[in-house]
């Protein structure tokens, strides 16, 4: 904890020094940025833009995780599905995020649907690959057990398969969350009239570095809160059976 605090303090100090060297227009100091955050928060713009962006992150993330889990599970368990899906996966994995975004806007139009589709498609192949890895490692002997005792499909999924996939799902969720919010900002910059990405785009045109940093910091704080308040407790809950060794 002490080392963390020290590291954080050093970061702030480096910021002050950098700001001194580069000048307040290019790199405003922490105080200026803090005041900007408070001003944006007072006007309500910060909460609105953060809310809009978070909603896009949540929807795109949920779609990508659900589809990625379903496809990854199918590909990990069936050779045919794996062979069939692999070329699609390779194409999607290697398609630059920007291309997917631009094509989504061109084909679907400058709409919310296009924005979310573009983000979800960017995240989908990575989630699929991670879950496929987990599905390949599923324990066949537990499948046999579930079959002998005629467990229902729902119970098999919930009590036999998903607990084994949990570490892979956590990895996919974690890498996915950071990827999704970065891409959401680009999507907003290119074709949405609101959200953190849009605000940063406007600030860029006005050369308003203070505002760029204000929104970036606020957003990092929100994502940190989600990680500590949502993701970590969930991981602890899922791993509770490991917590007490024999």
């Amino acid at each position: 904890m002490a080392i963390r605090l020290l590291s954080f303090a050093l970061m702030i100090a480096a910021w002050y020094v950098g700001s001194r060297l580069a000048g307040p227009r290019l790199f405003p100091d922490p105080q200026t940025v803090g005041v900007a955050i408070v001003n944006e928060a007072r006007s309500g713009a910060l909460a609105f833009n953060l809310g809009v962006t978070l909603a896009r992150v949540a929807v795109a993330f949920a779609i990508a995780m659900l589809l990625g889990t379903a496809i990854g599970l199918a590909m990990g368990r069936s050779r045919t599905a794996d062979r069939f899906g692999d070329p699609w996966l390779v194409v999607l994995l290697n398609l630059p995020a920007l291309v997917i975004i631009v094509l989504a806007y061109v084909w679907v139009g400058l709409t919310e649907t296009a924005a979310i589709l573009a983000v979800a498609l960017n995240k989908l192949p990575i989630a699929t690959v991670t879950v496929r890895e987990g599905a390949r490692a599923l324990d066949r002997s537990l499948d046999d057990m579930a079959q002998v005792f005629r467990m229902s499909a729902w119970n098999r999924m919930r009590h036999v398969v998903l607990p084994q996939l949990a570490p892979y799902l956590a990895a996919a969720a974690r890498s996915g969350l950071s990827l999704v919010w970065k891409i959401v900002l680009i999507v907003e910059l290119l074709g949405r009239p609101n959200g953190v990405g849009f605000e940063i785009g406007v600030a860029f045109q006005l050369f308003d570095v203070t505002r760029i940093l204000a929104y970036a910091l606020a957003f990092i704080a929100v994502m940190l809160a989600i990680e500590t308040l949502l993701v970590q407790p969930l991981e602890r809950h899922v791993a509770r059976w490991r917590a007490r060794p024999a």
């Binding site: 002997s141 079959q147 005792f149 467990m151 009590h159 607990p163």
Partner: protein, 220 residues
Amino acid sequence: MLGELALVLGLGEVAALVGPSGCGKTTLLRIVAGLERDFDGAVTLPAHGRLGMVFQEPRLLPWRTVEQNVRLAVPEASDGTLDALFTTLGLAAHRAHYPGELSLGLARRAALARAFAVEPDLLLLDEPFVSLEEALAARLREELAWLVGRRPVTTLLVTHDVDEAIGLADRLILLSASPARIVADLPIERPRAAHSADERAAIRQAIAQRLGEARSSARS
């Protein structure tokens, strides 16, 4: 792996399959359990019959407690049935434990509890006490014999331990090495628990003789 073989179990009969390791005993059980599809032949189970099985390893879900493991396999089991089973098998204090917290002996008991909670029409046991220390295995054998005696259930037991087979079964089926065939099919007089050491020795001698005959006939 398996040769040509036919086997009919009577209702409530406990049959032990004994044979050298690698002769396909486990494969045979898996075929009966419906886990193996790649074979020529037919398996007829009692209509609407429910299956209980104890695998060589306990095969419990590590992320569910002992009680949850049993309830997931048998959602319709009543509290009374489970209470009685857990008490009989010495698991009453371990219901809320995760399998990783149990010794192998306790995990085996949990697997037995799960198989019996089904109230199966056919019980399949695949070397259920292998790699346990002898005293513990003997106790578990007694508990198993008691459970089978209380509610007669058609049972197919795979083992390489002739004493275990004599102690538990009504009928001993000897298999040859792979490809497995039935070498001998010996009835064992009831009541099982009353066997004296002499009787056991006699049965063992009979088995040795049959095995010897089978070998010499294979050679000629």
